[in-house]
Every structure is written in C-alpha cells, then in structure tokens.
C-alpha cells in the first residue's frame, strides 16, 4: 500500500520536475532547432517544431562568413590559458590562507572579492591606453592577463574554501609517520586537493569563455574569441533568426557539453565551501 502511494508520488513529482526542466531548457532547444531551419521557416507562424526541412545551410553560411574555428581556438586558448595562470597564482595564496590563517586573512579575501565590483566600462579607456602602449591589444597574452585578473578573486576564494576542508590532522599524522614534506605533498595533499582544483578550473573556464566585455573591446581579429563572433550576428539586416541560431549554437555548444560532462565536479566546486 505504502509502496503504491510512493510510486504514484514519484510519478507526479517526476512529471513536475520534467516539466520545469524542459521549460528551463526550452530556449536552448529552440535555438538548436531553429538553426536547422531556413530563414523563412524560422519565423513561420504557427512555429514548426520538428516537422520542417532540416538544412545545414546556416552552418555553412556562418563558417564561410566568420571562420568559426579561428574564434573557437581563440576562445579555448584564452579561457584555458587564463585559468591555468590563475591557478598557478592562486593555489599558493589559497593554500597559505587556508593553512596559516592570520587575523587579516578574511579581510584580504573579502578585499579580493570586492575588486570584482569595479565597473569595467568605467576603466575601459585607461586599460585601452595601457594596452596600446604595451602592444597588448588583440593579443592572446593581453586577453589572458585581463581574464586572469578579473577571475583571480573567484579562484582564490573557491580554492580557499576547498582547502579549508582538508583536515589538518591528516597532515600531522603523516608527519608523525615520518613522511617528508615532499611525500606529504605528493601522497597526502595532492590527492585531496585535486577535486577542488578541478572544479575551480571548470568554473573558471566557463566564466572566461562567457566574458563578453573585455574580450570584445580588446580584440580585433587575431585574438578575437567567440563573443566577437556572436557580435557580428546580433542584429543584421533582413531575416536572421536561423543564422543567429546557428551562430549561437556554435558559440555555446562546446562549453555546454563540457559543463554537462563535468557536472559532478562542477557542482562540488560551486558550493564554495557552503556545504559541509
């Protein structure tokens, strides 16, 4: 008896959950479907869901017009590059904060986060001037520097909360067992820190991939990532829904797929130590 009730309940809850999930996902699904329509069908009323002549024409147009792969590789280079450099700088800092905290550690952390609140538009001109003089405009290095700096506070914060969860007792125990510092780091700490670092890395790649102000304003061609690619489809003349959809799909698909595959690690990292 109890069992049937719980099954029925499960069915109802599942139905609601699926409904909500599909609703939230719908704009993405719709973009995906529209990218295979002709411009005419894309705005047809009533809308066509699955029964239309599927075409790859939009993807072809988009690729010949704007060289998707160059933008894609620029996105990968800058997002991954800034994440790696960010981690190299942030790991020691977060480590120190987590394992030798002082009275001011928390203040430093909060100050770091507060630098993220600088309005980017307000400092564009100074940064543009500096970049011009250092010849960093439209270079991967320049973009990597900016992306590293704007995401560094988040990286430090995430790593800090993560490292803090590593029990210090284990370290002491291993020291008792006569482990050297090197062994301690390799065999005890690293395995415990890797998941945290991995999820920080994932989140940071997503943030860097989607950053749309600096990436657009500091690049022209050689380093222009996918955000610049999208800007050429945002409101052109004539009918553009299908081409826009194709470009959008191309811009978000890589990161969406990466995000889906690494969902578990990401969720872990996203909790910012909020969950014990």
């Amino acid at each position: 008896m109890a069992r049937t009730i719980s099954t029925r309940r499960k069915v109802i809850v599942s139905a609601i959950a699926w409904l909500i999930g599909l609703t939230l996902f719908f704009p993405i699904l719709w973009t995906f479907l529209t990218s295979f329509k002709t411009e005419g069908t894309a705005i047809a009323m009533p809308p066509r869901f699955l029964f239309f002549d599927w075409t790859l024409e939009n993807y072809q147009t988009v690729q010949t017009r704007s060289n998707y792969f160059r933008h894609f590789s620029n996105s990968v280079i800058t997002a991954v590059g800034s994440t790696i450099i960010g981690l190299i700088i942030a790991i020691p800092a977060a480590w120190a904060m987590a394992f030798s905290p002082t009275k001011r550690t928390k203040d430093v952390l909060l100050w770091m986060l507060s630098t993220k609140m600088l309005p980017a538009v307000g400092v564009l001109v100074p940064i543009y001037l500096i970049f011009r003089d250092l010849r960093l405009l439209d270079t991967h290095i320049g973009l990597i520097i900016v992306l590293t700096m704007i995401n560094l506070p988040i990286i430090v914060w995430m790593l800090y909360t993560y490292f803090k969860e590593i029990p210090v007792d284990i370290l002491e125990a291993s020291r008792m067992d006569g482990a050297s510092l090197r062994q301690e780091i390799i065999y005890v700490l690293t395995p415990m820190a890797i998941p945290g670092i991995a999820s920080t890395m994932l989140l940071n790649i997503i943030l860097a991939w989607n950053e749309a102000f600096w990436t657009l304003n500091l690049t022209t061609t050689r380093a222009a990532p996918l955000t610049a690619f999208i800007a050429s489809y945002s409101s052109p003349e004539g009918l553009f829904w299908a081409k826009l959809s194709a470009a959008s799909t191309l811009a978000i698909a890589p990161i969406l797929i990466m995000g889906w595959f690494s969902q578990k690690q990401l969720v872990r990292g996203l909790t910012f130590g909020a969950v014990k």
């Binding site: 017009r65 704007s66 022209t220």
Partner: protein, 436 residues
Amino acid sequence: MKLSSLVLGSCSLVVLAATAQAQSLTIATVNNGDMIRMQALSPQFTEETGIALDWVILEENILRQRVTTDIATQGGQYDIMTIGAYETPIWAAQGWLAPLDGLGGDYDIDDLLPAVRQALTVDGQLYAAPFYAESAMIMYRTDLFEQAGLDMPEAPTWDFIADAARQITDRDAEIYGICLRGRAGWGENMAFLTALANSYGARWFDMDWEPQFDSPEWNEALNLYVDLMTEAGPPGASSNGFNENLALFQQGRCGMWMDATVAASFVTNPDESEVADSVGYALFPTHNNFGNHGNWLWVWSLGIPASSQNADAAQQFLAWATSKDYLELVASQEGWANVPPGTRTSLYENPAYIEAAPFAGMTLDAMNSANTSNSSVQDVPYSGGQFVAIPEFQGIGTAVGQIFSAALAGQTSVDQALQQAQQITRMEMDRSGYYR
C-alpha cells in the same frame, strides 16, 4: 603533461599570430547586407593584388564604439574603418583620417554623386570613399492601398500618411499601418525623428546654439509621431530599429515604412521578402508648404586611419570596393538590383540598373533633394541632415533618443519628454562651452 602542452601550445600560437602578418589589411565593417556581400567577393581582390584581408564584422553600435575608441586613442588596430557621413568630417578635421589621394586615375572621382562627395570632403580633399549612400523615402504596400481605396501621391503630406496608416491598420490580421523607428540612439530613432522634425520646420538649435525642443514645431512633430505609432504602429515599436522594421515589412506586417532608401532592394528581393512584388515608393512626407522632405543623407564609407601602416594598400582596397568595376562585379553575380546604391551618377544612367531596380529613380530624387547644409526651413548653425554634425551629438542624440523612446512607450508625456530633452541638451551644450 596535458597542462604543459596546453601552455606550450598557446605560447606557440601567440608567436605564430605575431609573425603571420606580411601584407594584410584589417577591415572593420558593419554587418549590413552590402558589406557582407563585399566580404564574400573580396577573395577576388586578394587574388588580384596579393593583399590578404582580415575582416572584423560587428553589429553597428558595437562597431562604432570599437572604431571610435581605437581611432581616438590611436590604437592602430584597423587599416580600414567603415564610417558614416557623421564621423567623416569630424574625424578628418581632427587629423585622424588619411587623405585619399591615391585612388588611381580610373577611379573617376567626378562620377560620385555631388551630395555624397560633399559629405565626405573636407577642405577640398576626400577623406573617405563612399560604399553606399541613402536618403529616406516611403515604402508602401500597393496591394493594401488598393484594398483600402487609397492612392499614394508622389509627394504625400503627413496628414495624408496619418490618415492612410489608420485606415490600413488591422490588428487582428497583424497588419500595422505604419512602421517607424523607435529604438533609442542617435543613428536609430533620432535619425528618423530629426528628419521628421525637419519636415515640420523644426530645428535642433537656433543660431546661438540654444536647443529648440520648446518650439511649437517640435511639439507638433513629436505629437504626430507618438499618436500615429500608438494608433497604427506595431507592438514593441520602442525597441524597433532599421533591422527590426525591415524584418516586419518583409513579413508583410507594415502598410508603410519610412526609412533609408537602401531598404528598397531588400524589400523587393523575392528570396527574403514575402511582399516583394507589391512595394511602392514615394518621397518622404512633408508638412504645410515647407517642401522639406527631411533632408536625410547617410553615406556608409570606408576611411583609413592616419595611423595605419598600410595606407597605400588600404587605398588600393578602397579603390577596388567603391569602383564602377565593383558594381559590375556585384551585378554579374547577384543581379543589378543588389549593387550598393547611391554613390555614382553613372549607375543611375545605366539602363540595366534602371530596368532591374524600380526604386532607382525615387532613390536618386530623394538623394538629390536632401540639403544637408541647411536642413530646416529655419536657419541653423550646423550641417547634417538627420543628425547634427558636432562631436557632442552622439551623446546628446542618444540621451534625447532615450527620452523620446520613453514617450513612445507611454512612460512620459510628449510635453514632459520635450522639456527633459531641452534641459539635457542645454546642460550638455553648456558643459561643452557653447555659451561661453
């Protein structure tokens, strides 16, 4: 292992990017149809000259922001920039643009339409090469007019337009009598509203640079606009710009549309437009007996920043992209109706073009009737037709555009909007030292 190879990979790519720029030009342009066609045809240029091209194609507002930042800070990121009739004289006066003195003998500079050439010339020197040019006119649906028993005159008045728009509107069938720009921006709704105000005898500034939004002419013009759009306009008009209205017209939602003449080739293109075979044209409307048709003139043109290291190659490209041969090239591939219009006299004398482009005559008339040195029937201290050619106008025009789009959305009354516009314009002009 993975990490280090990635780092190495990205480093080597950076090096590659830095060395791979022998003879190449970076071109910034707008994502309008004619420019995209230019990009598609440009491999031919590379083949002929060996000069490689890097295209940066952006949405108009982003493009303008990017190129202005770059040229004002001498960033040197572009060799060729797509700029308009507004920027060219101002930038040339600042010494930011390279003079175009190497376009070559067969460029035939005298073939450029006089109004267009004048808009790009400072002190007798051409500073940008016109790619396509436009005035404004009425595009209307002949079938809907016939149904309603209306007859569009060649040079209609606003009274007639208002009347016709209301008659044609059929909200249940999603047909709206009139589509006009409403999206805020100096190049969006303010371009249209300035032209409308011109035709109503209004002006932006008097001869002492005092803003004139408190004048009865502006009041009349803005009231007409808001009333007409509320009664006969499409929903969401306050966020519609050129492209949104174009899409609406192509889908057959608009009875009339007053906008850039260049739209004519899009709305008559059967591949894109559902109403291609029932579009008629008329001059931009007038009011009273002013005979003022708005004086809209815009030239999308290609300029070379003074800081460009490749000015010679860049001029070569300009000469190619704005030449008679380029028009022939487009015509041979896409048909005469699709060539970039409005720049060359010879185009309008070409029977093949007149035959293929039923809108050619109206476009030429509209362009010839645009007077940009004195756009209003009253005296004005500025030049420019649907804009005011002073550096402050981008900011002021956008701020005023926001206020007027709020009036269109019904968030403020027309009187309030005009009062705010007056106040904000006065403040900006004061700040810029016009009253000292």
